[in-house]
């Protein structure tokens, strides 16, 4: 959170003005919203004229004017808080406890308190504007029937309104922090502010209406149970009485007051709409691009130029806007690019370029370092854990996982399966020289491969190039201490609440790692566009000096990112909701970064082409670059996506169904096909497969994040316990792991590819065929027939074509003899097909012959059969005089 207290010129000159403008606009919009609110609150459809006139007269009333003043004050405070609390880097809590800490932070506490109060004020204004029974907190009432003794009674409706306002205000603040509402995202598409606002406004209205409904429900429940507390408190402090003639609101009958609920809902929506509009305007204004001068003639303005600004650290927003400006100028503005490539007047140094390039490179380098460090932390976890006593391994799976979750928050969940214990008999047995030779880098890249399935311990963490010193036998005391520690941990781990609080949120650490990646994306875009432009525009060769370092840092980052995406959770996508105010871009920044990085490298390679070989580089980078030059660079993480989709029972059973023209389902199903002939147009006919597109299409919309959740459920059928020794009890705990699944999947995919390679090699130098290699046989249910030889559909189809066209060439339709003709034809056809038909197939040949006039005809058929063995083929012949359609059904008979 940036503090505007810093007296930076940018904050002073730009950010404050932008904030002020946004608040001014939201204040200007306030009368409109208020008028709408009044209109809606007075709604009575039966008396429209009275309704309108009443609302209009009310709008000029003193109540509304006064409320407007109050609301303006509220908006000013809300706007001020927006300015104080905005951030360009979303803070992502990695555990529940961190989230709790975020909510209970003192700064957040102030925020909540203030918004609570503001909510109450808005609710008061709303109640005053609606008027009627909500107007005052107290009203005179009579204790007894005579009405003689006047005293003040509590107007519970008014209190209800105020409390609801406070509740909504508090929820606004709370949800704001949970959903990172204060995060400002920058759009990929630049639009004018008015258009952006216009586009987002319907969403704001819809969102606040729905949100208000939910909050109202929560509030009613809360009031139902705890409502008597504030009521009693108010009654005693203000010496008010309770009117016994009116139903109390914390009863079911009291709450079932529809007009009250409607008014409350309208007021809540009004409150949220004004506040969210303020926030929206603020975000739009703040994230508007700012064009910095690249160089200035005056030295006092030098601090405001892009090269200086871009390397400044302090106001983060300034750095972000500068980077955005860099990326935009590199794409769109040749004249400003020219300034970047220019040399300084006395001395002839490329100061502009070197400053920009240095800063961008340091950003890229930073991210690479961070990724590598994270990766090392993840991979060293196993080793760090191996120091601990082996007692832990005796505990059950869940316990140990929770305990280790406690142990190190930075850990990632897949470490378990690979964690080995140096004290276990396992340890010695796996130290084959083959394994120890592996470098740590290789090790970490192969984490995914490892699984309980693959017994060869490719990547046991215990085996590092510098083998962990198991020889340092710890003293008795330390052993005892360790065991105590473990016991405490185990004890804690058994408590559900603690586990809940400390268990890591999936993919949060990955999100947190890339939280500020928008800056890196811009840096990459800017650099790559500038380099691409330098091919034609850089007259002094300014870029060439740094070219190789830029390329190598990009490639290093690419390697690190690739490696990161091999981790589970890293490539799982969060569910997307099209309808939400919540800005979820920070959750997907890592994907955007990966895409931007690849595009950047491709942009450079495709611009420079073969010239790029002249650049000095290490061989490893050259190899990597070669892949990019050939457009062979593979999407590594698609592999993982694939795994998830297979693990997901809801998704398409892709492995089962391979390259078959016909659909594969588990049960025999009713299938129909239609042969539609339309004589007016050319013979168009089309097939309809029944039952193939049955499934509702929404299912595939599930993201892989849901798939991740489902993997453990599907686990038991998929994991096999390795049969090979040495396996002690410590091994058993990791049986069902995501990692195992991944590894199995990857292994099987590797197998597929190897088989395919082999097949390709066997085919040798034959001419390239377009026939795909069928790798996996389709899954055939147990009850289905399995003919040794399938019916040759394509061949029969060819036969049909020849047969019909030879027999019907020049035929003219004649109603009298067509009967015999059709019978004869079908008999002949059956004999013909019988000759090529494999045994045990029953054939049904059906011919339809008709005169080709300008009518259309629909031929359709349905069969109940086994789709794995039974099939059909058809052909329809057309001449100017006749049409004839032949359908041959082949049914396998066991």
């Amino acid at each position: 959170m940036s503090l505007p207290g810093q007296n930076h010129w940018f904050i002073r000159n730009v950010i404050w003005w932008r904030a002020a403008a946004s608040i001014a606009w939201s204040v200007l919009l306030l009368p409109v919203t208020t008028a709408l609110f009044v209109l809606f609150s007075k709604v009575s459809l039966l008396h429209p004229i009275q309704w309108i006139s009443e609302s209009v007269s009310l709008l000029y009333g003193s109540y509304v004017i006064f409320s407007l003043l109050m609301l303006t004050g509220v908006l000013l405070v809300v706007g001020f808080f927006n300015l104080q609390y905005y951030t360009v880097v979303a803070s992502i809590p990695c555990t529940k406890i961190a989230l709790l800490g975020k909510v209970l932070h003192p700064q957040q506490f102030v925020h909540s308190l203030v918004h609570c109060t503001l909510g109450m004020i808005v609710a008061w204004c709303a109640s005053v504007m609606i008027g009627g029974r909500y107007n005052y907190l107290a009203y005179p009432c009579s204790e007894d029937e005579s009405g003689a003794i006047h005293q003040m009674c509590l107007n519970e409706h008014h209190l209800f309104f105020l409390l609801a306002g406070a509740f909504i205000g508090y929820s606004y603040s709370l949800l704001g922090v949970v959903r990172n509402m204060n995060y400002i995202s920058f759009h990929t598409v630049q639009q004018y502010k008015y258009l952006r606002f216009k586009g987002a406004l319907p969403l704001v209205v819809k969102y606040s209406a729905v949100e208000s409904l939910y909050l109202l429900r929560n509030f009613c429940i809360l009031y139902f149970f705890l409502g008597y507390v504030p009521r009693a408190w108010i009654c005693t402090t203000m010496n008010l009485h309770k009117d016994s003639s009116v139903n109390a609101l914390d009863t079911v009958t009291g709450l079932l007051d529809l007009s009250l609920l409607y008014h409350l809902w309208i007021s809540g929506a009004f409150l949220l709409a004004t506040w969210y509009t303020t926030m929206l305007l603020f975000k739009i204004y703040i994230s508007e691009m700012y064009s910095f001068p690249v160089q200035s003639a005056f030295s006092e303005e030098a601090s405001e130029c892009l090269p200086t600004v871009i390397s400044s650290k302090t106001p983060l927003i300034l750095k972000f806007l500068a980077l955005q400006d860099l990326s935009l100028l590199s794409q769109h503005s040749p004249s400003r690019r020219q300034e970047v490539f220019s040399l300084s007047q006395p001395g002839g140094h490329p100061h502009n370029w070197s400053a920009i390039c240095k800063e961008s490179l340091s950003l890229i380098h930073d991210l690479t370092q961070r990724l590598v460090a994270y990766h090392e932390a993840v991979s060293s976890n196993g080793r760090a854990k191996s120091q601990s006593s082996d007692k832990e391994h005796k505990s059950t799976t869940s316990e140990s996982s929770a305990a280790s979750g406690l142990e190190e928050l930075a850990k990632t969940p897949w470490r378990l399966a690979g964690a080995q214990d140096p004290f276990s008999p396992w340890y010695g047995s796996v130290q084959s020289p083959h394994v120890t030779r592996r470098a740590p880098k290789l090790w970490s890249s192969s984490t995914v491969t490892e699984s309980p399935l693959s017994v060869t311990p490719l990547a046991s963490p215990a085996i590092a190039p510098t083998p962990a010193p198991p020889a340092q036998t710890p003293g008795f005391l330390s052993l005892w201490l360790q065991s105590r520690q473990e016991q405490v941990k185990n004890f804690l781990a058994k408590r559900v609440l603690i586990m809940y609080l400390f268990s890591k949120l999936p993919e949060a650490s990955s999100q947190a790692l890339f939280a500020d990646s928008q800056a890196h994306i811009w840096a990459l875009e800017g650099l790559s566009h500038l380099i691409a432009a330098s091919y034609t525009e850089d007259r002094f060769g300014v870029v060439q000096t740094t070219f190789s370092s830029i390329l190598s840092s990009m490639l290093t980052l690419q390697e690190a990112v690739d490696k990161h995406f091999k981790l589970p959770h890293a490539s799982s996508k969060p569910g997307r909701s099209s309808f939400s105010m919540e800005d979820t871009t920070y959750k997907t920044l890592r994907f955007a970064l990966r895409a931007a990085l690849k595009t950047a490298i491709y942009r450079i390679t495709s611009t420079f082409g073969q010239h790029i070989h002249a650049v000095q580089m290490t061989t490893e980078h050259r190899k990597r670059l070669q892949q990019f030059m050939e457009y062979k660079e593979a999407a590594r993480s698609s592999l993982i996506n694939e795994c998830f989709s297979i693990g997901n029972p809801g998704s398409e059973a892709s492995s089962g169904e391979r390259h078959r023209a016909r659909p594969v389902t588990d049960k025999p199903f009713v299938r129909s096909h239609i042969l539609r002939m339309d004589s007016t147009v050319r013979g168009q006919h089309s097939w309809d497969m029944r039952g193939t597109v049955k499934a509702p299409s929404r299912h595939t919309m599930e993201r892989s994040s849901t798939a991740v959740k489902e993997v453990p459920m599907a686990g038991p059928q998929l994991t096999r316990r390795p049969s090979k020794p040495p396996l002690d009890r410590t091994q058993e705990r990791g049986v069902i792991s995501l990692k195992g699944l991944l590894a199995a999947q990857r292994f099987s995919k590797g197998l597929q590819e190897r088989v395919a390679l082999k097949r390709a090699a066997q085919k040798g130098l034959r001419a390239p065929t377009l026939k795909p290699v069928i790798l996996v046989k389709e899954k055939i249910p147990a009850g289905s027939a399995q003919p040794s030889e399938h019916f040759p559909c394509a061949h029969v189809n060819l036969l049909l074509q020849r047969f019909l066209s030879s027999r019907l060439e020049g035929a003219i339709y004649d109603a009298s003899c067509s009967n015999q003709l059709v019978q004869k034809l079908s008999e002949d056809l059956k004999r013909l097909v019988r000759a090529v038909c494999p045994p045990r197939y029953k054939l049904v040949c059906m011919l339809t012959l008709g005169q080709a006039e300008s009518e259309g005809a629909i031929l359709a058929s349905r069969c109940l059969w086994d789709p794995h063995s039974d099939t059909f083929t058809s052909y329809s012949y057309k001449s100017p005089h006749v049409f004839c359609t032949a359908v041959v059904f082949a049914v396998y008979c066991e």
Binding site: W25, T536, A634
Partner: protein, 566 residues
């Protein structure tokens, strides 16, 4: 400042079209005509117009256009009759009968079968799935007595009547909304007679020698010149594919415009798997944005835009984040066709009404260009993005628009000429061939300009009713200096009985231009045009240098190349 309204042009001229009646046949004497009701332009550049009458006569049946060399189209008796070409992509064929379409709804075959009564719930569910709310209401209204309470039937019939009234009102404003989704895709697709094509869409990869083909059975195959494996992509949501495009500056990503969503496939080029799982596809969907008929990647590979004739806003997708920004302009009633200029500065967006827009991509503002006659059917950009050629339905001409000022400067206006000029007249012309008279000409189905800006291929619709007016491909030579003009090159003909359905140029053919044509018999053939670029290797205006021509093709034989010393 906020209310910088962009369509002042529209405000000024929206009532004017009636003052200038449309001329159906442009007279040959008047070479310039204002398409747009803007200022009558007083440009005194004499632009020459090409017409079909200048073309060489088409060949008789049985002759197939093989390639262009020495400024002449060379023909042969069959596609396999020459081996001289340096381009050895074998032509593929996808027979129509081998593909079974899944796209027909069950309802269309319902009438053919005996009546089978499901329970009401099952029927309602089916109707809801097949045809939405309308179908559901209809099912309830038509249900027999006693199945549903009477009030429900009455309510349903009332609401159905109301719905029909509203939709007829809406439909009278925008007639295309009354079409079914299949018909709508067929109507607005770039492929001729889309619903009957065995090849429904085709896309070259912008940097390597591979292409993707969408077939009638809703599968997509990817062919690569360097490998034998041809992966087949299938996805449950991949229905009625209207368009395909590879992501520029990327090896893997292929965007597919489907029935009710967009799919972005990530096809690993090194993998030998023939059937990538549906997990490799990202699904991008937005409520109300279906069917998607056109997609376009930004040439920088940063964003993807998609359009649907039903949705008035076009979506700008950030594919990696799977988020979209709708750009809404209500006029026109939808967006049918998108084309991004090669330099990335402008986007053409056609609507189903007689109106199209040209967006500039820096601040995403647009210019409205109302047409007189019909909707804009297709368009293509010159390689430097300064000139747009387009055609309008109902007129047999090609229009050109030029954009002069660079849109890169801040506050720049995507301006240029005030009116479109006619550059080619494609009205019917009759040719005498050995088979008798053939009439060629008509409306334009699609346009393709080769990446060097030297050849322009035009797919003319023809008339399916009359056999002597077939659909043909006319190829023009284009020249941009001293003045922009089109010169006749010839007609590209296929095998007997095959009509062209789709055309596309190879993005980096080193010896000239390579036109890929999909024919109605399911064949995909490649027609090379060998020539030496007039202006040498042309570099762009400097904003983004064009991609260098492919290196991989250098080792081909040089014999033909040296012949072209003219």
């Amino acid at each position: 400042m906020m209310t910088r309204l962009l369509n002042f042009k529209f405000l000024a001229f929206r009532f004017l079209p009636s003052l200038f009646p449309a001329v159906h046949r442009p007279s040959l004497t008047n070479h310039r005509r204002d398409l747009l009701v803007g200022k009558r332009s007083d440009v005194n550049v004499k632009s020459t117009m090409c017409s079909l009458a200048l073309f060489p006569s088409p060949l008789g049946d049985g002759q197939v256009t093989l390639y262009e060399s020495n400024n002449e189209l060379v023909t042969g008796s069959s596609l396999d009759s020459y081996h001289k070409q340096e381009w050895d992509h074998q032509s593929l064929i996808f027979p129509r009968d081998a593909l079974k379409s899944h796209s027909h709804l069950e309802s269309s075959s319902k009438a053919a079968f005996l009546d089978h009564r499901d329970t009401l719930w099952m029927r309602s569910a089916g109707a809801w799935r097949d045809s939405g709310l309308n179908g559901l209401l209809e099912e309830i209204v038509n249900s027999g007595n006693g199945e549903v309470p009477r009030w429900l039937t009455v309510g349903a019939s009332f609401s159905l009547a109301l719905l029909r009234w509203v939709s007829s009102f809406h439909g009278s404003l925008f007639p295309h909304l009354t079409l079914s989704t299949e018909d709508m895709v067929a109507e607005f697709s770039q492929a001729l007679n889309w619903s009957d094509c065995s090849v429904r869409s085709f896309a070259w990869h912008p940097h390597t020698d591979k292409f993707a083909v969408a077939l009638l059975d809703d599968s997509i195959r990817i062919y690569n010149s360097k490998s034998d494996t041809a992966p087949t992509l299938k996805h449950r949501l991949q229905r009625s594919v209207a368009a395909l495009q590879w992501k520029p500056l990327c090896a893997t990503a292929l965007a597919v415009a489907c029935h009710n969503c967009l799919l972005v496939w990530h096809v690993d080029p090194t993998s030998l798997s023939t059937r990538p799982s549906s997990g490799c596809a990202q699904v991008l969907s937005h409520p109300g944005h279906s069917p998607v008929t056109s997609i376009a990647w930004a040439p920088s590979g940063s964003v993807l835009i998609s359009a649907s004739p039903v949705d008035t806003s076009m979506m700008v997708w950030d594919v990696a984040a799977e988020s979209c920004v709708p750009l809404q302009r209500v006029g026109g009633g939808g967006v049918t066709f998108l084309s991004w200029s090669p330099d990335g500065s402008r986007v053409l967006a056609a609507t189903p009404s007689s109106l199209f827009r040209v967006w500039e991509t820096r601040m995403w503002t647009c210019e409205r260009w109302p047409c007189l006659k019909g909707r804009c059917q297709t368009g293509c950009w010159s390689p430097d993005g300064s000139r747009l050629l387009f055609s309008v339905q109902g007129e047999m001409v090609i229009y050109a628009l030029t954009f002069t000022d660079a849109p890169g400067d801040p506050g720049g206006w995507s301006g240029g000429s005030k009116a479109a000029t006619i550059v080619a007249d494609l009205s019917e012309t009759s040719f005498q061939t050995s088979q008798g008279e053939i009439r060629i000409g008509g409306e334009v189905q699609s346009l393709a300009w080769d990446p060097r800006g030297e050849r322009l291929a035009v797919l003319l619709k023809g008339d399916p009713e009359t056999p002597d007016r077939p659909a043909v491909i006319a190829v023009f030579k284009t020249r941009s200096s001293p003045i922009f003009e089109l010169l006749p090159c010839g007609f590209v003909q296929g095998e007997t009985g095959a009509e062209p359905r789709m055309i596309q140029f190879h993005p980096h053919f080193s010896h000239g231009a390579l036109l890929t044509v999909c024919w109605s018999n399911g064949r995909i053939s490649h027609v090379p045009f060998y020539f030496v670029s007039a202006g040498g290797p042309r570099l762009g205006t400097g904003r983004s240098p064009p991609l260098p021509i492919a290196r991989s093709m250098e080792n081909g034989e040089r014999a033909l190349y040296s012949e072209l010393g003219s």
